[in-house]
Amino acid sequence: MNGNNYGWGLPVAASSYAHDIDFGIILIHVAMVAIFVLWGIFFTYLLLKYRRRDGVPAEREHEHGALKSLAPDIVVMVFEIGLIVFYAIPSWSKIKMNFPQPGEANQVDIIAEQFAWNIHYPGADGKFGRRDPKLVHFSNPIGLDRDDKDAQDDVVLANEIHMPLGKPTLIRLSSKDVIHSFFIPEFRIKQDAMPGMVIPVWVTPTAVGKYELSCAQLCGFAHSFMRADVIVDTPEDFDAWLKSHAPVKQEAPTKAAESW
């Protein structure tokens, strides 16, 4: 289904800031190719023009080259300062430092482990239930306390994330064991999940579809198999899905029974 999203270039862009990142990547690559080609032409010219020929000695240049050799540096410097000031810092702070308010965002806790992604939705009440390390069990990988009032309607999934279209999703990312990395190519988002830390990540999907979450930080022998499906629905479909997954009875086993 999502085979069309990928090719030999950048995958489909499906988040609000994906185009910001693509802009940088493309701009830099255009500049890189331009620099390399110009430079390659100059280099080839030098190699041909100044190859060894009998009777033509090397020209000994006079010592005044300091400024000339710094000219490319100045060009590079100006380009880089421009990139930093007008591109890198603003978009970096937009993506990594300014987060949507919890009230206006769909909230999810993601707890990575070897080798699965555990997804915890607060459910209709918008409150996450208590998680207790003593309850962690293979049938309850995040140790959710179902007796907690806030946990009654919580939804816990493994390796499947649902997000509403056009609404920011605020993720609190953590890890149970080693470092993992949360990477969805279509959203151009990547963030390491660091054990002992909770790191906020946000994304606003801009296209309905099925995407892929993979682990981008070596996490053990099955690192390459640690993936999840990301499903973006319209807000209505998302709400309907969330309701349909809310546990009816406390005793019912959660859907996350088998992580992998």
Partner: protein, 117 residues
């Protein structure tokens, strides 16, 4: 130090520094019995330790009147040492709001408000 010239050493400065080091040690231990709060305690303890270390380096290690190359070496080392101190510690402080007590549980349920940074 090129002692080849002067064989008769004046050891009085050494003994004076020795006395100063002993006194400073007593001072730093005495101050610790006041049980100051961590902030001033660290500042004071570090200041005394730095003075002591400087005394040892300047007199015992003959840094006073050493060649420029040694000063240069020490300067570059201290610069990198400061980098090694300041940046990881800054990072650790700035990310303290992201750290949690229990790794496997992740975010505390009640702390649902917006992340600080």
């Amino acid at each position: 130090m090129s002692e080849q010239t002067a064989h008769a050493h004046d050891i009085r400065p050494y003994l004076f520094v020795f006395g100063a080091l002993l006194v400073l040690t007593v001072v730093t231990v005495t101050v610790s019995y006041l049980h100051l709060p961590p902030g001033p305690a660290i500042a004071l303890g570090l200041a005394i330790a730095t003075i002591k270390a400087a005394l040892v380096a300047a007199f015992f290690m003959h840094l006073k009147g050493e060649r420029a190359i040694i000063y240069g070496l020490i300067a570059i080392t201290v610069f990198f040492l400061i980098v090694l101190f300041v940046l990881p510690i800054t990072d650790s402080n700035w990310t303290s709001s992201r750290r949690v007590e229990h790794a496997a549980v992740g975010a505390q349920a009640e702390a649902a408000e917006a992340p600080a940074r």
